[in-house]
């Protein structure tokens, strides 16, 4: 301790000033090295945080909105590859026609318009049938129960003036495929 004190006493003001600047420079270098690494880590963490928050915002829908969504889309299955999806969708659709008592003509698959969801194709299924108007209503009421259905693209109902209650139905519905 005494030696150190004696050494400090020997230093001139200029020496002390130089030592001070040196110490400040050393601290600045250390701060820069660790600071830049820390800053990079911080920026990454902030970006990760923002992504996470966006994801959470997507999932975390309030109860009223969730109930609204559930009333429009009560069931939903994630889209499969095109061939499998075609099969599943057609199968379910045929079943729903059958349940409504509609004898439909063969279902035709068509290339769809531009998909509203990036990463998924939009497939259209067209069908024609002649049936009772009440059967159409029954079919439309149950259509939302199809877990592969995206939406109704086209619906034409035309009454047959000669046969009471009978209508010609042209329907085009869509589904997503990977």
């Amino acid at each position: 301790m005494k030696v150190g004190k004696a050494m400090i006493e020997k230093l001139s003001n200029k020496d002390i000033r130089t030592l001070k600047y040196g110490a400040i420079g050393a601290v600045a270098i250390i701060l820069f090295v660790f600071g830049s690494a820390g800053h990079e880590r911080w920026t990454k963490a902030k970006a990760n945080g923002a992504v996470l928050r966006t994801k959470l915002d997507t999932i975390n829908v309030d109860k009223a909105k969730q109930a609204g969504l559930a009333s429009i889309v009560p069931v939903f299955e994630m889209p499969q590859v095109e061939e499998e999806q075609k099969f599943l969708f057609r199968d379910k659709l045929s079943e729903q026609f059958k349940k409504a008592g509609i004898k439909n003509k063969p279902l035709q698959i068509q290339a769809g318009r531009k998909s509203p969801q990036a990463g998924y194709k939009l497939l259209l299924v067209k069908c024609n049938a002649t049936c009772q108007f009440v059967q159409v209503l029954d079919f439309l009421a149950r259509l939302n129960e199809n877990p592969y259905l995206v939406g109704i693209e086209e619906l034409k109902i035309k009454c047959d003036p000669k046969k009471q209650g009978e209508v010609a139905l042209d329907l085009t519905v869509s589904t997503f495929a990977r």
């Binding site: 820390g38 880590r41 911080w42 963490a45 902030k46 990760n48 945080g49 996470l52 994801k55 959470l56 997507t58 999932i59 829908v61 609204g68 969504l69 429009i72 889309v73 939903f76 994630m78 889209p79 509203p116 969801q117 998924y120 209503l137 439309l140 009421a141 939302n144 259905l149 995206v150 939406g151 109704i152 693209e153 086209e154 619906l155 034409k156 109902i157 035309k158 009454c159 003036p161 869509s174 997503f176």
Partner: protein, 483 residues
Amino acid sequence: MEIWQSIVAIVNDDNEFKGVELRKQGGSFEILWTRSSEESDADWRGFAAECGLSVEPTALEDSDSDRMVVAGFNTAGTIFHRTTVPAVEDKEIESIIELQAETRLPLPPEQIELAWRADQLRDGQMGVTIAVARKEQLQKFVGKVRCFKPAKILLNSEGIVKIWEVFFSGNKDNAVVLSTGSHNTQVCLVEEGRLSNAVVLDIGIEDFSTEVTEEQTETSERFAQDMRSVLDLFGCSNQGELPVFVLSDGSASYVSIVSSLRLAGLNARVATPALNGLMAKSELSDEDIYRYRTPIGLALTVFDAGADELNIFERLYNPMQKVVQRHWLYAPKVTIAIASIMLVLLIVVSYAVDIAGPNSIEKRLDASVSDVDMNLLVKRQQLIKTVARERPDLLDLLKVVNESGERGIKLTSLSFKKGQPVSISGEASSNDQLSRYEKNLQNSKGIEKVNYTANTNAKSKKITFTMTFHYKNFSSKTTRTKS
């Protein structure tokens, strides 16, 4: 409360600076030194320096010192009042006193300083001693003594009463004490053992002599007359037995003062020092004790922990408050240091929150969502939202179309296609009916831009029509592209 080993008291008494250092040891007191300065150009600063006190303005206060410095203020410019107040809280007493001071004193309140002290409660009333002085005079005094940073400034008359009580055998609760200087006499009224009034007369010991001359007789008579007036002022003129103590160093002059007072009918007596319990490094005579009576008395007042001093300088001089201000309000370095620490803390906390936040969210998600892939969940939710936007409620549309038409309107077809207006065809009985149908549709929720074309069948007189309208966002091409 700090316990001081010794007290240094400095006064300017009888045109002379006097200082003593008094130490308390057990139940006795020891005078460590006495000093005086009779030089005509002497001032507080110079005398304080002579007494070994630091007078440099930049000098740091010796907080570790075990001695306390007090200064004495001559009460010549101080007026005392006695009043009684009912038994109320201290705050209420203060406002009563301030009110009385405003009404009784000739000066406006902003030009005066006052201090008060309440006595014991008797018969529901409390006697209060009020000391009042001009603010300007006190400020000037503070300016003079500030250089040696006294811890307290006390009234000299308090010191006189205290030394009479301790070293002049002052064992009476009520008395008048005379402290005679060269050319003036301090008259103090003691009630319940405490100073309650004080007056300075301009006759001193130099005006009395032991020889009986005509001039001397005249001085004695004038003094006796002045004393009667003072007692009258004190409200004691009817108390013939009230003892009047003349502090004395034992010389004959004081005896003549007492004699003149006795001749005037006052119960006067001489009080000489009784030095029981007082020690000194060098031998001190009765004359020395008498000479330094005021500073010794002030030091004794400070040692008396229970003494409720009349601090007339309370609002003008508070050395303890100054120290606090210097630390917090006038220390930019401390403020900057605190601000820097807070800034560093803010950065550290923000950094920690930003780093730890996402990690903890992910951990909680992992824990709650378990095996399900978070991304799959997000995709599913996004798809459901898209599907909800793509699904028209055609049952609802059919219901609206049906309910808007009256009896007589017969629909034959309906055509819905995304990106195109909805089209319906049918027959109506009259134009009015058709017009009402259009209006009803127009007023329906989700339906707008209703148009129709109609033809009348010449044979059946029926009107065939085709009506188009926009249904929610499904008929607009632009909306579809956006969605």
